[in-house]
């Protein structure tokens, strides 16, 4: 206990002998210049959505129309839709792309496991980089 106290006092004496380091006199000015550059950058970069609102509206309308058609059959009497040849959709549903492709049980399980691991990795990597950016 006494030794610990002695060593504490000794370290305090030693550390007291060292001067604090001081950065260059234009340190604050340099930091503020960089801050200004950052502000300029954020002013210049205007974030635009990848898809404009009109495209989103179109996608939603088409999706809703298709959903209504699927659930209610051919009850859609809208002028535009009634002119469409929706029999194509019926034909499409008859096409079985995977008819001749057979996956073994092992392959299916491996594929599912692989996909899950990719998702887990994505989450882990995202968290890691978020931590790197902001401490």
């Amino acid at each position: 206990m006494k030794d610990e106290k002695n060593i504490e006092e000794f370290t305090a004496f030693v550390m007291n002998e060292i001067d604090k380091d001081v950065p260059s006199h234009d340190f604050v000015m340099n930091v503020m210049k960089s801050v200004e550059v950052e502000n300029e950058k954020s002013r210049l970069i205007i974030y635009k959505p990848l898809m404009p609102k009109s495209v989103w509206v179109l996608i939603i309308v088409l999706f809703l129309a298709l959903t209504v058609y699927v659930f209610t059959g051919s009850t859609l009497n809208f002028y535009l839709i009634s002119t469409l040849d929706i029999n194509v959709l019926n034909e499409l549903s008859e096409i079985d792309l995977f008819k001749h492709i057979n996956f073994s049980r092992t392959f299916t399980l491996s594929f599912i496991l692989f996909s899950v691991l990719v998702l887990v990795q994505l989450f882990v990597i995202k968290t890691y980089f978020n931590k790197q950016n902001v401490v």
């Binding site: 930091v31 801050v35 902001v134």
Partner: protein, 191 residues
């Protein structure tokens, strides 16, 4: 005089008054720089790291929730940026094993140090300090220069308080051992 608390200047900065951030930089520049130079051991590099740390703090200021002090947050950014620089340049300090070495009589070492000319004394102490590893130098710097409590240091270095206490004790012991061997040369080469 800018005597208002950090929170005031943080709020001002977030409201668009960039000059308020300069006050925070002015307030913590010495400690951030001291912390960085103690880790990277190079003036130019430490200056660059310190500046980058403040810019990073500015960019992420909106995500600062005030769960810790602003100073703790900035020191943490500077600490990790400095460690990254050391890692990049593969310049990690060696971990000298001091368990088998005896400290000896501390008052004798202190007496011998006091006997030295001031400039020489500072040089010897600085060299001994640089023989410690990065964490040990950081802990001693924060504890003695900034007089931070163990709790704050543990937040910066991301270690438990007990772990910091142990490391602090070991750092003190190591520093004493290294200084002893400067006074009694040829046992450990400090140069």
């Amino acid at each position: 005089m800018n005597t208002k608390p950090d929170e005031y200047y943080i709020k001002q900065t977030l409201n668009g008054n960039v000059n308020a951030f300069a006050i925070l930089v002015e307030r913590y520049k010495n400690m951030v720089y001291t912390l960085s130079i103690k880790i990277v051991k190079n003036r130019e590099e430490a200056e660059e790291i310190s500046q980058d740390s403040f810019v990073k703090a500015y960019k992420n200021l909106s995500s600062f929730k005030g769960e810790s002090k602003f100073s703790t947050w900035v020191y943490k950014i500077a600490y990790y940026a400095s460690l990254d620089a050391v890692k990049r340049n593969k310049r990690f300090s060696n971990n000298e094993n001091i368990d088998d070495l005896k400290i000896g009589n501390l008052s004798e070492i202190q007496g011998a140090l006091e006997y030295l000319h001031e400039k020489e004394r500072k040089k010897v102490i600085s060299k001994a300090l640089l023989k410690l590893n990065e964490d040990e130098r950081t802990i001693l710097t924060l504890f003695y220069f900034e007089e931070l409590p163990i709790k704050e240091i543990s937040k910066i270095i991301n270690l438990s308080e007990d772990n910091i206490k142990v490391k602090l004790y070991r750092s003190r012991k190591k520093l004493a051992v290294f200084l002893k061997h400067v006074i009694e040369p040829r046992t450990i080469d400090l140069i």
